[in-house]
Subunit: 318 residues, 2 copies
């Protein structure tokens, strides 16, 4: 099958007829109609086989996660997902793999209302680059750079599940019949981008970032961009039941704060707006600390004492 037939067969079904898509897959460019007066939010992410996912990973999961990481970036800005383009590098054409990959991609794209509008397929070591575009009213994006001293630092959902799944070797393992392991595995392989949360937090949160490289590293970006510091209560980091059951006590904090792959949002919000935010959100929002005028990130224990731990986010090149 040639490259063009390949693209058409597997991905053209992912292009819904939408009034904001003037021209989808199949020309030199896609042609899109951004809503007048809105800003365009754009993000690009690459997943490389053997680095971001196991070579034995299910193609459905790879498809889902490739899009999820980009949607999570849109969520962090409060943008509404609109369109994405897919650059797919494959060792060879494997029909079954492509079918499953497209299924996984579509399983996330369809409910999120994001349309595949273009792409490129090339031969080489397996990797996937997705560039996702969203829109939001002008000036309403939640940035990293506007956290204020006194803001409550909050996170959506729970932290550490994906890192624990990875540590337990669940990425490609059959985990059926063990609800805890199954849950953790799904958190690693099929993260849920917090789009509704991001959207609802517009106008309430001062700053937000999505947690892809671990809280310690990602929160650091907010602190640096906002010229502030933070005190985080380690015992307040929200844990799933499965995490409670299976995480070794000694590694809990490092899994939760430096593990990565959470795809939750970390949000800085005035404490008086927390109740309103919680009413609007479709996931729990847990306060884990406060933004401080004093720079730097300090970890506190349950008694409020400073923990002397070194926690760093995942760094692709360190």
């Amino acid at each position: 099958m040639d490259e063009f037939a390949l693209i058409r067969k597997h991905f053209q079904s992912l292009v819904p007829g939408s009034s904001d898509v003037v021209l989808g897959v199949g020309d030199d460019c896609a042609l899109l109609l951004p809503p007048p007066g809105e800003e365009l939010a754009v993000t690009t992410d690459t997943l490389v086989a053997g680095h971001h996912f196991d070579l034995q990973a299910r193609p459905q999961d790879i498809g889902w996660k490739s899009l999820a990481v980009s949607l999570s970036d849109l969520a962090a800005m409060g943008a509404r997902p609109r369109w994405f383009v897919l650059a797919l590098t494959l060792e060879r054409v494997d029909e079954a793999w492509l079918t499953a990959f497209a299924q996984g991609l579509n399983a996330l794209a369809a409910p999120c209302g994001i349309a595949l509008v273009g792409g490129d397929t090339t031969r080489g070591p397996l990797s996937i680059t997705i560039t996702a575009m969203g829109t939001l009213p002008s000036g309403k994006a939640i940035r990293r750079s506007c956290a204020k001293p006194g803001d409550a630092v909050c996170v959506t959902g729970t932290l550490g599940d994906a890192a624990l799944a990875l540590e337990l070797g669940l990425a490609t393992q059959c985990a059926r019949f063990d609800p805890d392991r199954e849950y953790l595995k799904a958190r690693l392989n099929r993260p849920s981008p917090r789009l509704t949360a991001g959207h609802s937090l517009r106008g309430l949160a001062h700053a937000a970032i999505d947690l892809s490289d671990g809280l310690a590293g990602d929160l650091q970006h907010i602190l640096e961009e906002s010229w502030v510091g933070a005190e985080i209560r380690a015992e307040k980091l929200p844990r799933s039941e499965a995490f409670q059951h299976l995480a070794p006590a000694a590694s809990r904090l490092s899994l939760q704060a430096a593990g990565g792959d959470d795809y939750e949002l970390c949000v800085c919000i005035p404490p008086e707006l927390l109740a309103e935010a919680r009413r609007k959100l479709d996931v729990p929002l847990t306060e884990i600390g406060r933004i401080t005028r004093e720079p730097g990130l300090r970890w506190l224990d349950a008694a409020g004492g400073v923990l002397s731990v070194e926690l760093r986010g995942y760094n692709h090149f360190s």
Copy 2:
């Protein structure tokens, strides 16, 4: 050096202060302001080491070409380049390589007025994915699907130079002191996207495509999408002087029609508008044949007889 410092150091200088960039590199998403009433043209392309460029290629050239292939797609639609995001996968951090890569990228980005607004760096086998965005007045894009019987089929510039350079092994060879070889090598490593041509052809050309996989294959897309055929005069395919000097007679047609990597435009235009188009263009526009009602692509010799040749475009998976 960590990932974030890496991005900042090498690429933040490529982000010009522009009124249509609300927020560039450094947050979860870039925030852009598309001009009201314009359509957004989007294209994504991956270049993989060992497939699209030689592992020994100069990083300056890789940087240039990575962007050129995307700009060529924007040119084919008649779009004005605006913004791009860069997903860079590297085996390791090599400062000298990155500096040179960024230089080459910038050497093309700056004069074309396109701004780097975001990116991702990951570890893995060297590859580059660029997603480029342009804008153009609503409804004015030149598509593949609107060629009409009787249209003159034209190409910008000359064909076959890059394919000949590849065949002569010039991609990474030092070709100084031989103007012909130097010229061909530059055509392969530093193609010039035909942005002014594409822009000028809006409102004149019925259809256009950029020539990346070779005329035979790329023109076929126009024919299929427009439900027409074409007769192309093989001897009319425009040749550079260097090509005249160095291309073996036996392989000229296949280099020019099936070689790929030309990054010229193939355009279908009413013959009566050719003179006006030529006045507006900054490159030669050569008529090479006509669009026919009868489907299929027929190659004719100088006497008008049908050539029995099989010419196919480059296919990444055949």
